[in-house]
Symmetry: C2
Subunit: 380 residues, 2 copies
């Protein structure tokens, strides 16, 4: 194997595949990045066996030549060292050559590294995926869907299935749900698909995989192809493949959790409400329970308050855009409400309450494509 | 006490005094910030008993009115909560009022905080300083002197005196020296002082104090007054006082460590050399010893190399601007050389060697106001 690669291309590609490389793997070869050079370009692969990322650096794009292939071949290089080295090389390009026993030389300017590579034949194969169930989403919309749900997955391994986001596709609508049993985030999106009858359920994608996917996707309107199988999901973007295993087990039925009626409804300015909760919870953080009380007052006013006996107390008043229905006193974990508000990309939100002990729903004023359900805390 | 303060002024002042507040203090009242309101302005004090910082917010500056004093008085407020609250208040200003039992109300917009304050009489007094030994340095030069020496203090408590920077003033020249016994940083600067006969020695300032001082000083040409006493040093900048205790004990005599002759001298481009060492040490980091070998080759070339049996090896070649004297092979800890090079604010440096086993000296090409001495490592 012998190849000359433009460094900016290589640095970017290595950063992408590094997102799948874990330093704590039990399989030694997975601490490496597999590099395969063909006359198509350079293929890099990183994997922690749950997530695998393959990244192509094409030989040329438009007028730009990224790569000069001198001899095809492949090698596995120590990921952490390789990624640090490429970032610091002095020239615009690097020549990489594999010698005997996979000893690999990197030359750039007056700098010469020699790394002990490993046999690429020992690197695990990427999963073979049957492409029966395929649909597409715009890259920026997929990133938004991930951001709006993945924060709500459970971080505890007591119910592993809740560490993933549950995807279902029915009647041309993709529905993503995450819950840690204290709050639930739901995001729906219509999918334009050729085959209307495409459907699946209980596709539970590990939160970590979605976070890494979101980092390597570009914020643009290009399509990402998604292939779903029994135990794997594959995301195909430009020059990138990301494979993730799916979580085993049945995701709980969450459809009955979301209340269908409301006794009290607010319309509030999202940012103003977020900032008021942020302040109201300032004295209740760190080891405390983050609990903030909310009460309706006269004149469309809501009051947020909290009280920490050793430190002090805080009152926030806020004029709602609208308040309808019964008076209300309710307590909640400020962290959950703030995290939900932060992903609502709308200036005004509705909050629907069905009583102080029942979960309440936060959603955009004029649609229900995003719904955030939060369990109250018993204090009033 | 009752006062209205512009928030931007308060936030900045609180950030400054917070640098002296430690969360791990054994004296409970020092987890607070003392606030004293007089018709001069608002005085804030933070202290961990080693360092104390007092910050004044003046009533007005130029045309700007920062403060409306309604009633003089003082209180001690919980530092961490107070500093988080002021950063998040909704209005441009905050009204602070102390009520019974030091319960303190902060009002800003529709936000009202009530904090349990403490009795300011219980807050330790700042040290009384006799102003016999006083001199001045420009703020930006003082920051540079700190940056160029403090990184070399010891982080180990086995010889506490080495955790400080040793300041001496003789013949109108301030000399600052830091060493952790593996390397030594020295910075000299002439002081324009009225009293030529001003002198002191063995004034050892804790590295931590100098780091905090550097953070709160502005990068400008305003003068900082420095007052030295037996066991305290006081820095007076605009609206700021920083008191630091001095370290007890005698700083070792370092004057004989610096070689007066050299057998091999290089002149090198600082940045190019720094980057080459950075790369040459990439395979020798983390648990390894950071050791890089340097050897002179023919044609004004120097070679940097390192070898990590399990990972690989690296060679860097670099054309020196000048090489004079004997051939040389020497090994050193790359971290020490890189840290020294990073504070050399000059494009070219000289390195003076007196043999592979003797300390070598890095300094600017045309002056010796900064000298960085580094002990080699035995490998060749």
């Amino acid at each position: 194997m012998k190849v000359k690669i433009q460094l900016n291309q290589l640095i970017e590609a290595v950063q992408d595949v590094m997102k799948a490389v874990s330093s704590r793997t039990t399989i030694p070869i997975l601490t490496g990045i597999k590099m395969e050079v063909t006359y198509d370009g350079v293929h890099l692969t990183g994997s922690d066996s749950d997530i695998s990322i393959e990244r192509l650096i094409p030989v040329e794009e438009g007028d730009l030549v990224h790569i000069e292939v001198k001899q095809e071949g492949s090698v596995v290089l120590p990921a952490r060292y390789f990624s640090e080295i490429v970032k610091k090389l002095p020239n615009d390009s690097v020549e990489i050559e594999v010698g005997e026993r996979f000893e690999t030389t990197l030359r750039s300017g007056a700098s010469e590294f020699s790394l002990l590579g490993l046999d690429p034949e020992e690197y695990p194969r990427l999963p073979q995926i049957e492409e029966n169930l395929v649909f597409e989403i715009q890259s920026d919309l997929l990133k938004a869907m991930i951001r709006q749900t993945v924060f709500a997955v459970s971080t505890s391994e007591t119910r592993p299935i809740l560490t993933g986001v549950n995807w279902t596709l029915t009647d041309g609508v993709l529905n993503c749900i995450a819950t840690d049993s204290h709050r639930l985030a739901e995001r729906k999106m219509p999918i334009d698909s050729q085959s209307e009858e495409l459907s699946f359920q209980n596709v539970v994608i590990p939160g970590k995989s979605l976070n890494e996917l979101s980092k390597i996707l570009d914020e643009n309107a290009e399509k990402v192809q998604i292939v779903v199988t029994n135990n794997q999901i594959l995301f195909k973007a430009k020059n990138i493949l990301l494979f993730s295993r799916l979580l085993d087990g049945n995701y709980p039925d969450t459809s009955k959790l979301i209340p269908s009626e409301s006794k009290t409804t607010f319309v509030l300015k999202t940012k103003e409400f977020l900032q008021a909760i942020d302040r109201a919870s300032l004295l209740a953080r760190e080891g405390r329970n983050n609990v903030v009380k909310l009460a309706t007052l006269d004149n469309q006013t809501i009051e947020l308050s909290s009280n920490s006996p050793e430190i002090g107390k805080v009152f926030e008043h806020m004029i709602a855009e609208e308040i309808e229905g019964e008076e209300l006193k309710i307590s909640f974990n400020a962290k959950y409400v703030m995290e939900a508000l932060k992903v609502m990309d709308c200036t005004e939100i509705s909050i629907l309450f069905t009583g102080a002990m029942r979960p309440f729903l936060i959603q955009p004023v004029s649609d229900d494509s995003i719904r955030q359900l939060i369990l109250p805390v018993r204090t009033y």
